[in-house]
Amino acid sequence: MNRRNSAFPKILNNFPDKFTIENIPGDLLTDPCIYMNNAATTWPKPPEVLKVASFVFSSPFYEHGRTTVHDAPDYIGLARESVADFLGVSRPEHIIFTSGATDSLNLLIHGFASHVNRPFHAITTDLEHNSVLRPLRTLEQEGKCSLSIIRTSGPYVKPEEILDLVRDDTALVVIGHGSNVLGSVQNIEAIGTAVQHSGAFFLVDGAQTTGQYPAEPGRLPVDAFVFTGHKSLFGLPGTGGFYIKYPELVDPIRQGGTGVDSAGKFQPDEMPIKYEAGTPNYPGIAALGAGTEFVRRKGVDTILSQSRMMTSYLVTALGDTEGVRLYNPSPDLPVITFSVDGMDSEDIGFILWKAYRIVVRTGLHCSPLVHERINAAGGIRISLSCMNTMDDCENVMTAIREIAASVR
C-alpha cells in the first residue's frame, strides 16, 4: 500500500469544484498583481518562511511531549525564543502562542475578567479594532465591566485622556499600538507609565506594529502585548500570540491537553502551558519563527525607513490628486486611507482589482468607530510591506489618478 495515496485524493474527487487547485482561475495563480493589503495579511511571504512551513507540513508530526520522535528540532521552542528576543522579553516562557491577535485579545480580556471576578471599569479608544471592542462590549453586556471609550479627535491618544477617565474601580486599559485605519502609532511608554500609576492592567494590541515598527514591550511599562503572526512578522494566518508580564493576573480560559503533567486534574499553572491547551499549530508556529528571523535579519529600522519612503510618496501623490480625499496625511505606519469623491469605495477597490490587478481593502476595516469619525461610508486602504517597491507605488498612483479623472 502506498501510504502517500491515502483516502484524501478520493475525497477530492468527490468535491472537484471546491478542493482541487486546478479549479482556481488560472490568472489568479499566474498573472502578476500588486498586493497592497498588508495590514490585513502580508503577501508574498519570504521564501525562507515557505520553506520552513513546507518542511514541517511534509514531516511527520514531532512536537516535543506529544510523540516518540525525539531527535527533531523543537521548532516551537525555537520560535518562542526568537519572538521573545525580538520583543525584548527575557523569559521566553512568557510568550504564548495562539491562533492570532483576536484569539490573544479574547484570552487576555476574558481571562483578566475571570481573575478579577467582580464588576470593574475598563478604558479603551475609538481607534480600536473589533477584536478589542467586541470582547469588552461582551463583558459589558454580561455586567462584568463598565466601559469608557475615548473619542479621539486626531490620530493619537494622550495619556491624560486616559487618566481623566480613571476611576477607583478602573482595572483594565486596552490600547492599540498602531491603528489599522489611520496608521498612527501610540506612545505606549508614556501611556503605560500613566496607566501604571493608576494600578490598572495595561494591555496593548500590537497586531499592526510588530515587525514593522520598533517595539520591545518586554522593556516597556506594559502588562501584556499582543502580536499576530500573519502580518509584519510574515508568518501564516492562524498564528500569533502575546507576551504577559504577570500571568497570575489572567486566568486561563481554556483547559485541555498540554503534553505534560497529564495526570493533573486541572490546567497547570506553569508557563507557557498555562495558556496553551491543545495541539499547537506546529507548521504555523515554525513559520512564524522563520518570519521573525527574516524581520530580524532585515532589521525593523531598515523596514521602517523603506516603508516611510514609499508611504511619503503615496501620501504626497494622493494629496495632489484632484477628487481624492485623504484621511491620514501623516501616518507612522505604511497605512493610507482615502476615498474618491463621487464613487463608492467598494467600487474603487473592484476597479483596482479588475482593471489594474491591484489588491487593497475597502470598507470599515473592522474598526467602525474611527470610521464614524472620519468617513462613515468606509474608505479605501493601501497598506504596504517591505516586499513592496517604489515601482508598485508608482503603478498604484497611475491607476488611482486614472480612476479619479474618469469620475470627474
Partner: protein
C-alpha cells in the same frame, strides 16, 4: 444573452446576497445602455477597461467591467426571489444583434 454559470459567493449579515454571473458574451457599452432602461446606470468610460454599475432601487445592484463576461450582483433581502427572476429575465432578453428587447417588469 445566456447565463452560463451562477455562483453565490457571499451572504452578508445585512441579508443581501452577492451572486456572480458568467455570461456567454462580453459586456458591451450597448448592454450597459440597455440596463439603463430598467434603473440607474453609471459608467466610467475613460478607464483602460470601462467600469459600470447598474442599480434597480430596492431590488439589486450590478457591477462589472466592459469587455468581461462576469457580472457581480448584490440582491437586497426584500423581494429576493423576485429580484433573481427579474435580473435573469433582463439578461436573457438582451440580444446583442437587435439591441434592446422589451422586458416585462413586475
Amino acid at each position: 444573452m445566456q447565463i452560463l454559470k451562477t455562483n453565490m459567493f457571499k451572504r452578508c449579515v445585512d441579508g443581501t446576497v452577492l451572486k456572480e454571473y458568467l455570461v456567454d458574451t462580453e459586456v458591451t457599452r450597448e448592454l450597459v445602455s440597455y440596463f439603463g432602461e430598467f434603473g440607474t446606470v453609471k459608467i466610467l468610460g475613460n478607464l483602460k477597461q470601462p467600469f459600470f454599475s447598474f442599480s434597480k432601487k430596492d431590488y439589486f445592484n450590478v457591477k462589472g467591467m466592459v469587455g468581461d463576461q462576469v457580472l457581480y450582483v448584490r440582491y437586497r433581502e426584500e423581494h429576493r426571489e423576485e429580484s433573481f427572476e427579474l435580473f435573469t429575465t433582463i439578461l436573457e432578453q438582451w440580444t446583442p444583434d437587435t439591441g434592446t428587447s422589451p422586458v416585462l417588469l413586475p
